[in-house]
């Protein structure tokens, strides 16, 4: 589950609190440019894992490397590479938004000019450009969240770690957060997000890392969310065609075909890239199939989560492992 191309890598990570092991031999590797949803019930070790990844806590044993830097050997270098927003974050309420960001830039050692440029870009991105003169304490919950994220990404970190970032946000603010995370990912940032609310992770996560009782239950890509690797496609015809199944089965990139309505509608795993996908559609149309729908089939987070838990435990235990506030 680990890889040399990983930007975040945990190897046999153990973390102990007095009287309790919070993380038990957790190993994984997160590829650059992905968004990993960190899921698990309360007390699973999500926040502890995030704090270890951000080099805010030193592991008891094992290792964590971020951007190739060991968190125990050089935690300060890891801090340069990471942006972190805690579940319950604080702001300097009596400072203005501009002062908060100037302070964040100075603490990050950005220098005056780089800080000014970063503030300009970040406030535009977060939609708080019109609030620069407002005191942080006077902002709404959603705007405070945006300011906190702005502080976390001001130095353009390679890895952004967000613990329950949408907690307490209204639907509009959640949508804005989702768009922001996708934009950051598209810009090359690697993002790790924890949440109890799977619906909010649904929109942007490419991978799902499930923790339970401090152990890694599963770390896999979510089908249909990654640019490479297996994705699931769905096809529907305007009129039934008995050749659909054999033609699909004859394609080298296609596997695991499920006929939803025989001769009319199917879903299948597809291992090719976007151009291969376009090639398949062209071949089907040239073969005379009346294609009415041909699309990427997103795997529902909830289903994916339950499937992973069930695979680890057996179906009877899957329900008991659901995050408590899952929606």
């Amino acid at each position: 589950m680990t890889g040399t191309g990983s930007v975040v890598e945990a190897t046999d990570l153990c973390f102990d609190y007095p009287g309790q092991r919070a993380l038990d031999r957790v190993s994984f590797g997160i590829a650059p440019g992905t968004i990993t949803a960190l899921i698990g019930p309360n007390g699973a070790g999500k926040t502890t894992l995030m704090r270890c990844l951000a080099a805010l806590e030193a592991p008891f044993s094992g290792a964590v490397a971020v951007a190739g830097i060991d968190t125990r050997r050089d935690p300060r270098a890891v801090h340069r590479a990471v942006g972190y927003l805690a579940d319950e974050f604080g702001l300097y309420d009596t400072l203005t938004v501009r002062q908060c960001l100037l302070h964040a830039g100075a603490m990050r050692g950005l220098g005056r000019e780089r800080t000014a440029a970063a503030i300009g870009t970040t406030v535009q991105r977060l939609g708080i450009a019109d609030r620069l003169a407002t005191r942080a304490g006077e902002l709404s919950r959603g705007l405070r969240q945006r300011l906190a994220i702005a502080q976390a990404i001001l130095h353009d970190p390679r890895v952004l770690i967000l613990d329950e970032p949408a907690s307490g946000l209204d639907p509009e603010a959640r949508r804005a957060l989702s768009n922001l995370l996708k934009a950051l990912r598209d810009g090359g940032m690697t993002i790790i997000v924890s949440s109890h609310i799977l619906a909010e992770l649904e929109d942007y996560s490419t991978h799902m890392l499930i923790l339970r009782d401090g152990r890694l239950l599963s770390f896999q890509p979510i089908a249909g969310r990654t640019a490479s690797g297996p994705r699931r496609l769905a096809i529907a015809l305007a009129a039934p065609d008995a050749r659909l199944m054999p033609v699909l089965a004859g394609q080298s990139e296609v596997a695991d075909i499920v006929m939803v309505r025989p001769g009319l509608e199917a879903s299948f795993a597809f291992v090719g890239d976007a151009s291969a996908q376009a090639g398949l559609l062209r071949a089907l149309v040239l073969n005379g199939f009346p294609v009415a729908r041909f699309e990427l089939q997103h795997e529902a987070m909830q289903d994916a989560y339950l499937a992973r838990v069930a695979a680890a435990d057996g179906p009877s235990l899957a329900r008991s492992a659901e995050p408590e506030r899952m929606t």
Partner: protein, 449 residues
């Protein structure tokens, strides 16, 4: 500019405050001059020195002791820890930034004192006095910050942090050199001398030297604790250097007694080892003693990771070993016989010192066993209660019911001789057995595998 200092300037030095504070001080000082009738009468100096003490030492200690504690409470500390700012920059920023407004007022007070100059001090002497007062205030603030950082390491995972305690410690550590600086100027001349290892020093010079020395170690302590906050490792050399200096400092003062009574280096050795014993208690109370810390030390030992061992070696353990060495030197340097021919070294002093070592081991073991219990969030407070019972309540009760000799078995006092050492040793052994049980219980609770 230090970013933390700049943030605090934004927060603390608002235009209203910049106008109000000098105005209030000016009115107060004008009233003081009015009461005295003229400048130089001493009234202005008294008012200035008093307000300086209140602003720089009492309030400054509060602000410095609260500097990091308030960040933790406001949940902003983690975002500061995540920045690549260095521990020294962070330490300086916290210390100077949190107290910047207090220093503004303190600066005005010092200027007023210099203006009044009731003792008619020469410029060089006044400069020394002002430096001593500034160092006293800085010592108070730095000590409050140091203790807050140390206690926050204990309380991070539970338990309340009371800034008042740090403030009181700061006030104590700053008031001592503050008062000593003024006492060094009787009748306007620095004539009082201090003897240290037989050398005579002008009192103010010695106060200034001592304050600077301990301020330096306090700042070093803050730097080291800040390194730990930023997840960096420390080696014990700074602590060992402080321990050596503290022991020498105490020994230097006690040496005068040895010269006066003809008892040689015995009082100096006694003072030095008592200092080590006291610091063992201080660190045993203030350092985290949970099972995770000790298991990490054990792991470093197993892996022969010297740097890891040095970083994780508890300072109370190192200090305890040095205190034991000091105790041995006390016995070795003790006079063999007393004035009436009594056997002092091995008859009276030896057993008392051995008993003291046994009781020190017992008390440290008690603290350790409480620290290992993860269910107890107030192990140190419980230890204070137990120690009060052992040293005050039980001996007092036994004495009241006429069992004064039995009460001596709980205290490191002469009376029982070497048989008493056996009783004290048995207490230490029992406490160590409790530590062993607590360790096993903590291991069982702690981790699988």
């Amino acid at each position: 500019m230090n970013p933390e200092l700049r943030r605090n300037i934004w927060l603390e030095l608002s235009p209203q405050r910049l106008i109000a504070l000098p105005l209030i001080l000016a009115v107060t000082f004008a009233l003081a001059v009015g009461v005295g009738g003229k400048l130089g009468s001493g009234h202005l100096a008294i008012a200035a020195a008093t307000i300086y003490w209140l602003l720089a030492i009492v309030w400054g200690s509060r602000l410095a002791g609260d500097a990091v504690a308030s960040e933790i409470a406001a949940r902003t500390w983690d975002s500061q820890r995540l920045t690549p700012i260095g521990p020294w920059t962070m330490a300086v920023g916290k210390l100077t930034g949190s107290t910047v407004f207090a220093w503004l007022g303190a600066g005005i007070c010092l200027s007023a004192y210099v203006l009044d100059n009731p003792e008619r001090l020469k410029a060089a002497e006044m400069a020394k006095l002002v430096l001593a007062l500034a160092v006293a205030a800085l010592s108070a603030q730095a000590f409050a910050l140091l203790t807050s950082l140390q206690v926050l390491r204990l309380r991070r995972r539970g338990g309340a942090v009371r800034t008042t305690a740090f403030q009181l410690l700061g006030i104590m550590s700053g008031s001592l050199p503050f008062v000593a600086a003024f006492l060094s100027f009787p009748a306007g001349t620095a004539i009082v001398n201090v003897s240290w290892f037989g050398y005579a020093f002008v009192a103010l010079d010695f106060v200034l030297f001592s304050s600077l020395l301990f301020l330096g170690f306090t700042l070093l302590g803050i730097y080291h604790l800040m390194r730990l906050e930023l997840l960096q490792r420390n080696h014990p050399w700074a602590w060992l250097a402080f321990l050596a200096v503290a022991m020498a400092y105490a020994a230097g003062h006690a040496d005068m007694l040895g010269r006066a009574t003809g008892s040689g280096a015995f009082p100096a050795a006694l003072a030095a080892s008592a200092t080590a014993a006291l610091l063992t208690y201080v660190m045993a109370f203030l350092e985290p003693k949970d099972v995770v810390q000790l298991r990490q030390l054990g792991q470093a030992l197993r892996e022969a990771d010297l740097a890891g061992v040095l970083a994780r070696m508890p300072r109370w353990g190192l200090t305890f070993i040095i205190a034991l060495g000091g105790a041995a030197s006390v016995v070795a340097l003790a006079p063999e016989h007393g004035a009436a021919g009594t056997v002092l070294r091995y008859g009276q002093i030896g057993p008392v010192v051995a008993s003291a070592c046994c009781l020190l081991a017992r008390d440290v073991a008690l603290l350790l066993s409480l620290g290992l219990d993860s269910r107890s969030r107030r192990g140190e407070a419980a230890a204070v209660v137990y120690l009060m019972v052992l040293y005050l309540v039980l001996p007092g009760l036994l004495s009241v019911v006429g069992l004064r000799d039995v009460a001596r078995l709980l205290l490191p006092v002469p009376g029982w001789g070497w048989p008493g050492v056996l009783a004290h040793g048995a207490q230490a052994a029992a406490a160590l057995a409790i530590v062993s049980l607590a360790w096993r219980a903590a291991r069982r609770r702690a981790a699988p595998g």
